[in-house]
Amino acid sequence: MITIDRLTKTFGTQTAVDALSLEIPAGQIVGFLGPNGAGKSTTLRMLTGMIEPTSGSATICGFDLASQVIEVKRHVGFVPESGAVFESLTGLEYLTMVAALYAIPEAAAVERIRQFIAFFDLSFETLTEKLLGAYSKGMRRKVVITSALLHNPPVVFFDEPLDGLDANAAVGFKALIQSLAHEGKTIVYSSHILDVVERVCDRVIIIDKGRLLLDGAPDELVTSHGTGTLEKLFTQLTGGEELERRAEDFARTFRQ
């Protein structure tokens, strides 16, 4: 479903993603992990056609990212970390606008939107009466997730999708992505909430400084490294062990 071959992105002298190669089959939920600045968002932005790779190649649903980028975009959904929306549109205006960009007729779009808002426990009135700028962060995130799934894409990229969602919505969302995977969709899920990744994902990919560090099933990785939890494995791999000492140093500055 997704094939990445030595995908690289450099910004000036800085290499954000360094010759990343992966194969992700259909129906898999992949946790895409890494510390801040590891290159996760840059990778997702390349795979969604938002930025051009410096070198390497990728195909999504058989479409080449370099030469068939519009087809790639037609087959992917993306929830960016920023959760940006047009704040001066109502939720319904925004979602029907997005649907039109995927050539979904308005009646069909509204029907799908109704299903999504029922799932997310939003009222249709809120969607039609209120501008997105007046939505809470969680409500806005629900609209962004809906906009990524409206066109029923076979591949969905989530960049920190739980940001702003309340506990119930987060539980519902986890159930949603598992259902989507059962439908055969490929889910790439980038998050810092490692216990969620551990519970939801079939496979975990950890990158740091743009390079692939680890790739495998979460329980297998945890067992083979003997760390007990994914969180401990992650900190071990990405140099996070010093965090406790640094926190103590930081707290000491208040005592001076």
Binding site: F11, T42, I51, A84, F86, S88, I104, K130, G133, G184
Partner: protein
Amino acid sequence: MSSPPPATHSVPSSERVLRRLFLTLFLRGRTSRGTGQFRKKGGPPTSVGRKLALVLGFYAFFGLYSLSLLGQTVFVLATYLHAMTLVLVGMYVASSAGEVLFNKEEGDILLHRPIEPSVLLRARIAMLVQVSLWLAGAFNLVGLFVGIGARDGGWLFPLVHAGSAVMEALFCTATVVVVYQLCLRWFGREKLDAFMTATQVIVSIAVVLGGQIVPQLMLRLEGTTLVSVGDWWVAFLPPAWFAGIDDAIAGSGSGNAWWLALLGVAATSGVVWLALSRLAGDYQSGLQTMSESAPRKPRRGRRGLIDRLVGVPPLRWWLQDPVSRASFRLTASYLARDRDVKLRIWPGIAPMLAIPFLIMLPSGGDADDVMNVAGVGFGAAYLGLAPLMALNMLEFSQQYQATDVFRLAPMRGPAALTHGARRAVLVLVAFPMMVAYGGIMLLTGQPASALVMLLPGLISLPVFAMFPGLGGHGVPFSRAPETHKGAGRTLYIVGAMIASGVVAGISAWAHSTGWLGWMLTGETLLALTLYFTMRATVQRAKWGSLE
């Protein structure tokens, strides 16, 4: 497995959807704070579109000036109308194009959708052209009918002039877009930000030169307000090309008019072709640059310079309050570094900075002549508006939400922040311009005695600079850019221009009658009174409510 729906013909095209989207965003603003958040039952959401109607009304009122050209030839009337249209449309396009064409927030929403960059570009240009046409239409409304009564005019004029105005709006918009695309092509994506700003400043100045200043130069060169279609130099003026269309079809129909018309049609076709076809590929790479989130190293030199400036007298004495000093640093850093602020401020005040230099160009007469001296006075007074404009614009930023940190700080009101921003603008914008103004004045042959005419403008400068801080306003970067649009701001600026014109007029009169010394004393006393009264008001101001 399910797959995306196939494209159908029962839905509007992406381009149409995007055109509607961008127009809606223009009318409502891109963010909601300060523009109203709720849709009223049965009506549209609170919108800057309502304010736009007032702006259009103001432009239509401004267009009444063309009545003074009743009885002139079609070419003279049309040159005036097209020159002013070029200024109004050019200013709008130059100040909006950066945000419309390369909006980073929009990148996250639209760039992963299946939209061809050329479609995105066309939709954005269409929105710019549409708004340009509204502005041009409002300004030219009266002129259309004045043309019927022109010496060689007739009933054909309104139709032809409407067509040539549309062509001029297209020319203007496409030219700005081409300039951006050429910057992308020649200087690359990495330097786009810096060049976009520089480009807008240059375009703004060029628009002012091409549209507003040229008639003044014509006055000085020919000793008359009339411009003739037979003059060789009119071929270098874009407004004359479009006036040529009017004159060729609805006026004299002379051979020169046809040549100018041909030039206008060729230039418009050329830039539209370049913008939408030849250079469209560069737009895609520009969009991708906006999406790249690689950290950029701050330019140490500038920050170092600001720190050094703040650390030495007299700025160290002037910025003793730590909040004002921090606000000064923030403002100075953003003036030098932030793309959004640079794109808003420098193009916005560029004409303010350019016009005084042109006003004081020697008229060819005696250097001591009354018009020259008055011109210096008017130029200085006009330049005094630059900090007012800059401070007014500095209040708006795409990062306005970050300034909530000011409200969280233990401060009773925004006075200290306002003072810091005001001082930064005075030091970094107004002072260098005044020095350059004086220098150029001497270089262009003005007598040293004319330097005294800078004083009325200089004296009024602190008063104008205090205005934006009244009523709890003037906190740098604290309001959404959308709240910036509207008639209120235009009227505010026009009011300030009238005030500066009055100061300059009185000083010119006082200079010619030998009363300048008394006038300066009176102005100083009045300025001090106003300054301290306004300063006390600013000090007392509390935080306004957040909508």
